[in-house]
């Protein structure tokens, strides 16, 4: 009987030991808890977000935003009739569009990744405070950055600051004012946390530093009509001593160029930037996804002698037709990395400050900044401007030419300055007032019952 009892005990012990059943995480994955106890793996988690941004053209940070906003505005001409892309050109975006979904989805994916790092760091004890500040600053910046673009493109959106899907699946949209507040809060937090220079990334300007946050803050303040702060933040970047306007226009988009504040380093070993790969033409623009060439309205808008027209635009002649394409990135493919994908650069900061100064009626200061850009473009310097309207008009032209086909600047400028109707309705037959905001993707509306579709869709 004694033996029977022992055997029964063994059998039950065999079948109900909770400890035995637990397995360690696989060697191919790292558990959340161990990852953030080591600055090397935590660094890999932060790097992962940058790498993710560059894995594909179709994401919001790969080049698709440039393409789609360029189509929506007056930068690109489409050559893909009937396609999803042409709907963007016609400002008749289908809420079921895969491109639209791609922008939304990737932005929120990077936000999730940022939140995951932030939550991981908050439980971590063993990472040095220096590394921890930098990581925290970076992911707060990235979270603000993605929300900024979502806000500009889609209008009111949910600001997601947790990884908990049970909360997020019922997320609600908040007002533009509230989103701006949260973006500024994140950037405000990030500025003191971030490293001043780029020593933490081996001198490469491929991760954000303090100036990146200041530069984005300057832009956000400008968009929020806070002219004093916009000027002040832009001045901090310009005066930081880290950046100079690159005098040779063909070198502006090279990796770690002197005017680069933040660039994304390409990750696919066969290519440099996705925009270089997609936009450079060797024939008719027929290969998806970018079946586009620069629009006539952009080509015809340049002042004679503008060096940017000569250097940043190239063309190809096919039969009777000439197709123009952006040539800021000159390398179409090849694994020898020479160009990084520019996100924030000094020229924009001059233009932000010019606009902020103009809005504060400091026309002299404004012209100074405009001339910094014009002189680099080999254009005659402006002498003086006496009215705000003409000053702003001049800034508009410089922004269009300096920042064309870069991260949707043209489109967002038209929208924020309420010029879209005036500029686009003559050239886009189906133009409607509500086209300044893209629709929320349809599947998103279906899966989150709290989301409200934008007007006009």
């Amino acid at each position: 009987m004694k033996w029977i009892c022992i055997i029964l005990i063994i059998i039950f012990a065999v079948g109900s030991c909770k400890k035995w059943i637990s397995v360690a995480p696989p060697i191919t994955q790292l558990s959340n808890s161990t990852l953030f106890e080591d600055s090397v793996t935590a660094n890999a988690a932060v790097s992962g977000i940058y790498g993710d941004m560059m894995t594909s053209f179709l994401g919001i940070c790969g080049g698709n935003l440039t393409l789609l906003t360029g189509l929506q505005a007056d930068e690109f001409q489409t050559y893909a009739a009937g396609s999803d892309q042409s709907a963007f050109y016609n400002n008749a975006i289908n809420p079921a569009s895969t491109n639209l979904q791609s922008l939304w989805k990737t932005a929120y994916k990077y936000i999730y990744e940022s939140n995951a790092v932030l939550e991981g760091l908050s439980h971590s004890l063993k990472i040095s405070s220096g590394a921890r500040s930098q990581f925290e600053g970076e992911v707060k910046f990235l979270r603000a950055f993605c929300h900024f673009y979502l806000l500009q493109y889609f209008g009111n959106i949910p600001y997601v600051s947790t990884t908990d899907y049970r909360t997020n699946q019922e997320a609600v949209q908040i007002s533009r004012k509230e989103i701006f507040q949260k973006i500024m809060q994140d950037l405000g937090d990030a500025i003191p946390l971030l490293s001043i220079d780029y020593h933490f990334s081996g001198g490469e300007r491929a991760r954000v530093n303090r100036s990146s946050a200041l530069a984005l803050m300057a832009r956000v303040k400008l968009y929020d009509h806070d002219w004093v702060d916009a000027e002040q933040f832009a001045s901090q970047v310009i005066g930081s001593g880290l950046y100079q306007l690159e005098t040779d226009l063909s070198k502006v988009f090279l990796k770690n160029s002197s005017e680069a504040i933040w660039q994304l380093a390409p990750v696919n070993p066969s290519y440099n930037t996705w925009e270089g790969y997609e936009f450079i033409l060797h024939g008719q623009p027929t290969s998806a996804p970018a079946q586009v060439a620069l629009s006539n309205s952009l080509i015809n808008s340049w002042e004679p002698g503008d060096a940017r027209r000569a250097i940043w635009i190239d063309s190809i002649v096919v039969g009777p037709n000439t197709y123009f394409f952006p040539f800021k990135y000159e390398i179409q493919n090849g694994g020898n990395l020479q160009e990084y994908y520019m996100v924030l650069r000094l020229a924009e900061q001059y233009l932000i400050r010019a606009e902020a100064r103009a809005m504060q009626n400091n026309f002299t200061g404004s012209v100074e900044d405009i001339n910094a850009i014009r002189s680099r473009a080999s254009l005659p310097l402006l002498s003086s401007i006496s009215t705000q309207d003409s000053c702003l008009a001049m800034i508009g032209i410089e922004r269009r030419h300096e920042l064309f086909c870069e991260w949707g600047h043209r489109w967002f400028d038209l929208v924020r300055r309420h010029l879209a109707n005036a500029v686009l309705s003559p050239i886009k037959p189906g133009w409607q007032d509500t086209d300044t905001l893209a629709p929320i993707p349809i599947t998103e509306i279906q899966n989150d019952p709290n989301l409200i579709q934008n007007k006009g869709y």
């Binding site: 808890s33 894995t55 990744e113």
Partner: protein, 1075 residues
């Protein structure tokens, strides 16, 4: 009083040993118990003692000192002044109480005996009942003993697999009972979970296939021998390439998205259900293979397919998809046997696709250009402008028309005595392919089995080990698709210099595929030890310890010579994958058996510990300086990881079963399991499963016996219970980060693997079963009908989320329900049974039905266009093809939303079911004298994908087509099945054609009847055996896939895939000898 007599047969010795032992006994004991003395006497003399422990308890101790004394004297000393006496009969000493009244001795009798089969082998565990009560079982040597029986009482001796026998007690104390093998398979042993039963007494739904049905099939994978044999078991051979993959499902698909493979258990060891082959290395040729390919079918004794809850609930969270138990051969006591079996044969593709010849092909192309109003373009339409249009190559003959050779040699030695039996066998199996070139699949395997029981029968041991090594050498890609599509006027394969002819880069030479090589080596070891110890007369402790280790090394090489030189590639490419799967299992068990006058009780309790690790590493190597170095990875200038998989799975359980049989008439079986799996998160790891099975052998009821005597057997079965499915992958509940594909700034990167949800658990399948087993005409007609209804809920499905959560979905249990129901029929008949001629038949039939009963929010899920509630899971949602418009000559489809466009997904109006309506098999077995003939037909009634499925190349383009496309539209008012030919992707005709692959046009009848197996064999007459000095001999010829009757438009209705080699036709001849 007699009931409490529990007799022990002491000292069960080797009968053969008796002869050599002396009858002179030497003993020296002071005050020894009779028990001790009897043991000693048995040891020295070999005589057996029968006695009751109770009787012996009253005996006095004995002092004895004898040297080389005769037995009679020793016994006389032992029995002096004892209350006992003895009788000596046939080497058995029966000890009993001294009976004071001689009158009772006349009518009461003590009986001992031995039950054997017709070959004089003992029958273990045979039931001996007196006057339908007081049953006992024979022991390991077939002995039994009963006390104080009335003369004239009836003894009923029965055992599984034998015809029962009734004996009237006369004056004999010792009975020799010889049982004949039973007709029909009602009493054949059926292997079940942790034990055995018979069809007569089981309560669950179990189908067994024995070696006699597997052995005569020239297959290298045992699964191939099961097709159509078992109702409810659907097996599809996906490719005719040796070592290729199979799809196996028991009673339909229970899980919407997760694993649906049955649990395989080989000799107690769970065997890999996962596909081991690497996706990037072997997917193109054998679809990853099948783990069971490493098992030698000739080493298999039986395969049991467990289907309902009663049979599978004891496997808990692993049992939802059914269980396949494979038992390998064991040695048998008796003369040492040498068996040799060898066969050799031929295999070929027997169903080719009827394609256009050059004339028809060129006409098609030219007609297409006329339809499009275009002219062929130089440098593009080379088949019309550049190639020699008088050539006519039958590419199917050239590429897949070869004859493969199959050969197999098996040798085995088995034998042993009552205590120890062994078997050792070795096998060599080799198959070449139908492709031109030196390709083959070679398997060397060995099997060893050892059984032993101790002298006192308390300890028993069973050990098996199986080892196999498979070497495969194949091209990397299945050539079948090219064989049916290369234009018939394509140029020569080789140029004037004997090199591959690329015709200046314009001819994608199909022989370039034969430059590539897929090499795979599998090593597989399965080993299991089962130890039993009899703790008490009715209580057995068992421990089962097993392990399985499979390693697979794969290589796929593409030398530069396999690339079209027009692409200018200068280095070959090599993929390699190393896969390893290690499993161990430990299962202690305690079994209690008791026979009461009111029935037979069997109680089992056990535990399981199971551990499995899987590792796979994929590498891509490029930059080789020479094609000869492809297999040497260190010669590559660049090596990249193509993914690593590393998983660890742990499983533990407690299980129990109570089986109660009342008068072999009322049967009750209760099973339960509590198990824990590492595949689930904390708090969700453990769950309980259980089932209740009941059977009523109504043919034993008096009112049936009297009124319907035609029923020789009749049983109603019903069972209900729950099982789980944990085939959901490992670690899904963990909050982890994985390395992302690319580094950033040369540094490694990590990304969150998934949305973290630790709160999910297994899919639950509730199984209901009702069955009836009928035996008519003295069991010459056996019928089994089963109805089952399995409802699987708690489906583990990616639940769609707004992507602003960071991911599109999260793994969670949804209350989606899948119902599998069906009717299964199995009929076995003995049509003729004579001395010279016998004929038996077997029929199986399955009518399955899978239905997606509910799926919350299906419309907004990623599977909105994949599934439809109320329909089977195996469906395709497609456009509805209306036919070819006789005026325009274009394909037309139903425009559901009337927007003038055929658009995805709005116009997907049809859900086409690809589930078979019914399937089954018909076997006939004839024996005439020394001849036997066995033939097996397999049939399926189903809809399937025809030759148009998946092809976006319209008839008229530069690709050959089946002759069926000739039924095309040519001029106005033609009523045809195929639209006008076109060769232009931008034509209106192509625009219409491009909807065909997603329409119901690609589905048509794919039913077939196939003569799957024919086996003719001749047993050598005894005279010949004597001349040859052998015990038995047999020669045979076998055929597989001989005839197929079908209307299917495609290559083969079984695998329905133009990209994979169809199952082959096989002819073999062989010889089997027993020395």
């Amino acid at each position: 009083m007699h009931k409490s007599y529990w007799l022990i047969l002491m000292a069960i010795g080797l009968l053969s040993c008796v002869k050599v032992r002396s009858q002179e006994i030497t003993l020296s004991y002071e005050q020894a118990s009779l028990h001790t003395l009897f043991m000693e006497i048995h040891q020295q003399s070999g005589y057996f003692f029968y006695y009751s422990e109770k009787d012996l308890a009253r005996s006095k101790p004995v002092t004895i000192h004898v040297v080389k004394a005769p037995l009679e004297r020793v016994l006389a000393i032992c029995f002096t002044d004892q209350p006992l006496t003895y009788t000596l009969e046939d080497k058995i000493i029966v000890v009993k109480k001294k009976q004071p009244e001689p009158a009772t001795r006349d009518t009461k009798l003590d009986i001992g005996g031995r039950v054997t089969d017709t070959e004089n082998q003992p029958i273990v565990g045979a039931n001996v009942t007196v006057n339908q009560h007081e049953a006992i079982e024979t022991d390991d040597q077939g002995f039994f003993q009963m006390h104080d029986l009335d003369i004239g009482a009836e003894l009923l001796i029965s055992s599984a697999g034998y015809e029962p026998q009734t004996i009237r007690i006369g004056n004999n104390h010792i009975l020799r009972v010889v049982l004949n093998h039973a007709i029909g398979n009602l009493d054949e042993v059926q292997v079940i979970a942790y034990g055995t039963t018979t069809r007569r007494l089981n309560t669950g739904s179990i189908s067994s296939v024995s070696s006699k049905d597997i052995q005569p099939q020239p297959v290298s994978n045992p699964l191939a021998a099961l097709t159509g044999e078992v109702p409810g078991l659907a097996i599809i051979q996906n490719t005719g390439v040796p070592g290729g993959s199979f799809s196996v499902q028991i009673r339909g698909q229970n899980s919407v998205l997760n694993g649906t493979t049955p649990l395989y258990i080989i000799d107690g060891v769970p065997y890999g259900t996962t596909v081991l082959g690497s996706q990037i290395v072997s997917a193109g040729i054998n679809f990853g293979g099948n783990p069971l390919n490493s098992i030698n079918p000739l080493d298999i004794e039986s395969i049991s397919v467990l289907k309902d809850a009663d049979a599978t609930a004891i496997y808990g969270s692993r049992g939802a998809n059914g269980v396949i138990l494979i038992t390998t051969r064991k040695g048998k006591a008796g003369k040492t046997r040498f068996d040799v079996n060898a066969y050799t044969g031929w295999e070929n593709v027997f169903r080719r696709l009827p394609v256009l010849n050059t004339r028809q092909y060129l006409d098609m192309r030219e007609e297409a250009f006329r339809n499009d109003g275009e002219m062929p373009v130089a440098g593009v339409d080379v088949d019309l402008l550049d190639w020699d249009t008088t050539r006519n190559t039958d590419w199917q003959k050239m590429l897949i028309g070869g004859t493969a050779l199959a050969s197999d040699v098996q040798g085995s030695i088995s034998g042993g005595n009552e205590h120890t039996q062994f078997t050792i066998s070795g096998n060599y199996h080799r198959e070449t392919t139908v492709f031109p070139g030196d390709y083959q699949d070679r398997k060397i395997s060995g099997h060893a089995g050892l059984n032993h029981s101790s002298q006192d029968q308390k300890l028993s041991l069973a050990f098996v080990a199986d080892y196999s090594q498979v070497q495969t050498n194949l091209p990397v890609i299945d050539i079948t698709q090219l064989a049916t599509t290369v234009p018939p006027d394509a140029p020569d394969i080789y140029d004037a210099y004997g090199k591959l002819n690329w015709a200046n880069g314009y001819f994608n030479n199909p022989f370039s595929i034969f430059q590539t090589s897929y090499l795979a080596g599998t090593n597989n070891l399965i080993s299991n030890l089962n130890l039993g110890y009899q703790l008490a007369p009715r209580l057995l402790f068992r421990i089962n310890a097993g392990m399985n280790s499979i390693s697979l090394n794969e290589f796929a090489g593409y030398p530069t010579t396999s690339f079209n030189p027009a692409y200018g590639l200068t280095s070959g490419v090599a993929y390699s994958a190393n896969t390893k799967l290690d499993t161990w299992i430990l299962e202690p068990q305690l079994e209690y058996k008791q026979d009461f006058s009111f029935g037979h009780l069997n109680f089992l309790i056990g535990g399981t510990l199971n551990d499995q690790t899987f590792h796979q590493q994929n590498l891509l190597a490029t930059g080789f300086s020479s094609d000869n170095l492809l297999e040497n990875i260190s010669a590559a200038s660049s090596i990249a990881s193509e993914g690593t998989q590393d998983t660890h799975y742990k499983y533990e359980a407690v299980f129990g079963r109570i089986n109660y049989q009342y008068k072999d008439k009322y049967l009750l079986n209760l099973t339960a399991r509590r198990d824990g799996s590492s595949r689930f998160g904390p708090g969700k790891q453990f769950a309980n499963f259980g089932a209740l099975g009941a059977g009523w052998v109504f043919s034993k009821e008096a009112f049936i016996l009297e009124n319907i005597p035609q029923f020789s057997f009749g049983k109603l079965r019903v069972s209900y219970g729950s099982t789980g499915n944990d085939q959901i992958g490992d670690y899904q509940y963990l909050d982890t980060w994985s390395p992302s594909f690319y580094p950033y700034l040369q540094g490694s990167t990590l990304l969150p693997t998934r949305l973290y949800n630790p709160d999910y658990s297994w899919e639950l399948t509730r199984k209901l079963e009702m069955g009836i087993d009928l035996g008519l005409l003295g069991n010459r007609l056996l019928i089994t009908v089963d109805y089952y209804r399995n409802r699987s809920s708690n489906q583990l499905i990616p639940y769609s989320l707004p992507v602003l959560t960071g991911f599109t979905s999260v793994q969670t249990n949804l209350p989606a329900t899948v119902q599998n129901s069906g009717l299964e029929l199995e009929i076995n008949t003995v049509n003729v049974k004579g001395k010279f001629f016998s004929w038996t038949s077997g029929i199986t039939l399955t009518i399955p039905r899978t239905e997606l009963v509910s799926y919350p929010n299906l419309a907004s899920s990623p599977y909105a266009n994949t599934y439809q509630t109320g329909e089977p899971l195996k469906i395709r949602k497609v456009f509805h093809f209306l036919g070819v418009n006789p005026l325009s000559g274009l394909d037309e489809f139903e425009d559901v939303n009337k927007d003038g466009l055929i658009s995805y997904p709005n116009d997907l109006s049809r859900a086409v079911s690809l589930q078979p309506k019914y399937y089954g098999g018909l076997r006939n077995h004839f024996e005439y004298g020394n001849w036997s003939v066995d033939c097996f037909f397999y049939f399926v009634h189903q809809n399937g994908a025809n030759y148009l499925d998946g092809s976006y190349i319209s008839p008229g383009m530069m690709s050959n087509q089946p002759v069926w496309v000739l039924d095309r539209w040519q001029t106005a008012n033609d009523h045809r099945s195929i639209e006008m030919f076109t060769q232009d992707y931008s034509s209106a005709a192509y625009g219409a054609f491009s909807h065909v692959p997603t329409s119901d046009r690609v589905f048509s009848d794919a039913s077939f009847i196939r003569l799957k197996n024919v086996n003719v064999s001749y047993r050598f007459p005894k005279k010949l055996n004597k001349i040859m000095h052998i015990a038995e001999g047999r020669i045979y010829v076998l055929g597989q896939n001989l005839i197929t009757i079908t209307h299917y438009q495609g290559m083969d209705p079984e695998n329905q895939n133009l990209q994979a080699l169809p199952p082959l036709r096989v002819f073999t001849g062989g010889i089997q000898l027993t020395l």
